[in-house]
């Protein structure tokens, strides 16, 4: 009956001036917001429990296996159990990272989040900072706990090393960094993939799958493999780095380049898509 819209009949008075403070949202505000979210859900504690409990127990088993190896063979790297034992912890923290975004996309909560904080890259940075800081602390606790437990086992067989030996503190610190790296990859992939199941699969794929480079024919296994996350991690956490791969410093760059690239991709996409 009224194909043409009619104009409003009345023009009421101007609104009361907004009571908004003129200070923009500060980094502290968004960090506080994300920290409250992080600590207020149970999945945080479950994934962190897995990340703490499994490696310490697992690394003692690996160290015991090393210690039980028949003498006369190649001496295993005494820091290797600490790295190998992170296999499950790496997945747990990647899940934690993915969930920081995918749980919000899955429920639609992300719309509330972005309505409260329209600068989406700042939200990404805040989530990465909170998840990254916690997993770095947890990673170092795990790395040093595993180290002392492993060396207690290995020293009984004269295979252990002391923390005071040059190169050891750096290698143990780098072991702890691996958890933070994988958690940050998880955060980035959560923001890109948006679905929990797909995000976890993608994160595990990014972290683990490049390791198939090891199956390539030498020298390609090393030429390609040195760019993979796990070979880079092995190199920076080893007491005796392998000569065929990048130097520990170069491998550290590779290790940090993975989350940096993933977060850069997330930052690029996060402002471009409707939510």
């Amino acid at each position: 009956m009224n194909p043409a819209p009619m104009s409003p009949a009345t023009a009421p008075t101007a609104p009361a001036p907004p009571n908004a403070p003129s200070i923009p949202v500060r980094a502290r505000d968004l960090l506080g917001c994300e920290w409250t979210k992080f600590r207020s859900v149970r999945s945080t504690y479950w994934t962190l429990a897995v990340a703490v409990v499994t490696p310490i127990g697992f690394s003692i088993l690996v160290a015991s296996a090393f210690a039980a190896a028949p003498p006369g063979g190649a001496r295993p790297d005494p820091l290797l159990p600490g790295l190998l034992s992170l296999e499950y912890a790496v997945i747990a923290v990647a899940v934690l990272g993915v969930l920081s975004f995918s749980s919000e996309f899955g429920t639609g909560l992300i719309r509330t989040t972005f309505a409260a904080a329209p600068r989406r890259r700042a939200v990404l940075a805040a989530k990465a900072a909170v998840t990254g800081t916690v997993t770095l602390i947890v990673g170092e606790v795990v790395a040093f706990s595993s180290f002392f437990a492993d060396q207690a086992v290995l020293s009984g067989h004269h295979l252990g090393v002391s923390l005071s030996r040059p190169g050891v503190p750096g290698a143990v610190l780098a072991t702890g960094v691996l958890l933070c790296v994988c958690a940050l990859i998880g955060v980035a992939i959560g923001a890109i993939v948006r679905h929990t199941a797909g995000g976890i699969a993608a994160a595990i794929g990014v972290i683990v799958l490049p390791a198939i480079a090891a199956l390539l024919r030498p020298p390609w296994s090393d030429r390609i493999g040195r760019f993979t996350l796990l070979d880079a991690a092995r190199q920076v956490t080893a007491l005796h780095p392998q000569p065929d791969l990048f130097t520990p410093a170069g491998s550290l760059l590779v290790l940090l380049a993975w989350p940096a690239a993933a977060l850069a991709a997330a930052a690029l996409l996060i402002t471009r898509r409707d939510v």
């Binding site: 009949a9 949202v25 979210k37 859900v41 972005f114 409707d274």
Partner: protein, 320 residues
């Protein structure tokens, strides 16, 4: 104040919004109406900067949403009350959002009290009813005590008491001079809560006017009467310019004269009237007329609805 200027949004080949312009003014509860799929939620998402428009602009308090400083102080919004992390408590949900805009803890307690959520604030939202989630969503919208509120189907899931409460709530907010935009696909609900209506269908603006004016412009008025001397009365009414439609049961339906004039006319000629009923089309009918062409999904009617409803008992009839 919310201003939309020639807003368009296309998803692939589907046009969700088509050159949509309107202004939502302060001091009123503005109802945002349209059938399912008309583009109400898309419009609100664009206003909140969540979706990018294909063309056009949406401004809140004169600015694009993503340029707002601490947006929760400027716009309170509720798009989907169920968009919550089930494992988090209401208090921590509110606390996290308050922190994001530098809003203090005391305000969290205030909005919990405002929405009647204090008793359940420390329970995980998993166990909440839809009505409780709506209240929590409203609490979030009120965190920054904003001058603009925008809510998508906020009545959904509320019981009768809750609906009454939320209506009063919106009216009080509008009376304070705030801009209140509330979407619904139910005309009957909006007739009771909104004093201004914006109606869209298939992404196009269909109407933008005060509720009473929309009803007057779209509703049909007539008078049903019964008399032992219908033939005589028909002649008199027609002579006065009224249109008379005889009904199969012997009643007459008259348009063009109101009940008082008809009664006076009959009395002046000594004609007895056995019934004299002013009738008004329901607002729902007006709405169907307006949006009939623009509904995406038509059901098969079970029975043809009568064009007008007799008498006043129908709550959908308007008395505004």
């Amino acid at each position: 104040m919310i201003e939309l200027d020639r807003l368009s949004k296309r998803f692939g080949s589907v046009t969700a919004l088509d050159d949509l312009s309107f202004t939502v003014r302060p001091g009123h509860v503005t109802g945002f109406l349209g059938p399912n799929g008309a583009g109400k939620t898309t419009t609100m998402k664009i206003i909140l900067g969540l979706d990018a428009p294909t063309a056009g602009t949406a401004l809140v308090n004169g600015r694009r949403y993503d340029r707002l400083v601490r947006p929760l102080y400027q716009v309170g919004s509720l798009l989907d009350a169920t968009a919550l992390h089930g494992g988090r408590t209401a208090r921590l949900h509110l606390a996290s959002l308050a922190q994001s805009n530098g809003i203090g803890r005391r305000r969290v307690a205030e909005v919990l009290a405002l929405t009647g959520m204090e008793a359940v604030a420390d329970r995980r939202v998993n166990g909440y009813s839809l009505g409780m989630k709506q209240r929590l969503g409203l609490a979030v919208a009120m965190l920054g005590d904003p001058p603009v509120l925008m809510l998508d189907e906020p009545v959904n899931g509320l019981d009768t008491e809750g609906i009454g409460w939320i209506r009063q709530f919106f009216k009080a907010l509008a009376a304070e001079g705030r801009t209140v935009l509330v979407s619904s696909h139910l005309m009957s609900e909006m007739a009771l809560s909104a004093d201004h209506l914006i109606v869209i269908g298939r992404g196009k603006l269909l109407a933008d006017m005060p509720t009473a004016q929309l009803i007057a412009a779209n509703a049909r008025h007539d008078v049903l009467l019964r008399s032992p001397r219908t033939a005589e009365l028909t002649g008199l009414l027609t002579a006065r310019g009224a249109t008379v439609t005889p009904q199969p049961d012997g009643a007459l339906v008259v348009t063009g004269l109101d009940a008082a004039a008809i009664g006076d006319l009959a009395a002046g000629h000594g004609i007895a009237l056995h019934a004299l009923v002013p009738r008004q089309a329901s607002l729902e009918d007006a709405y169907l007329d307006l949006t009939g062409e623009s509904v995406d999904y038509h059901g098969t009617p079970v029975a043809a609805p009568g064009p007008v409803t007799e008498g006043t008992p129908n709550p959908m009839s308007t008395a505004r």
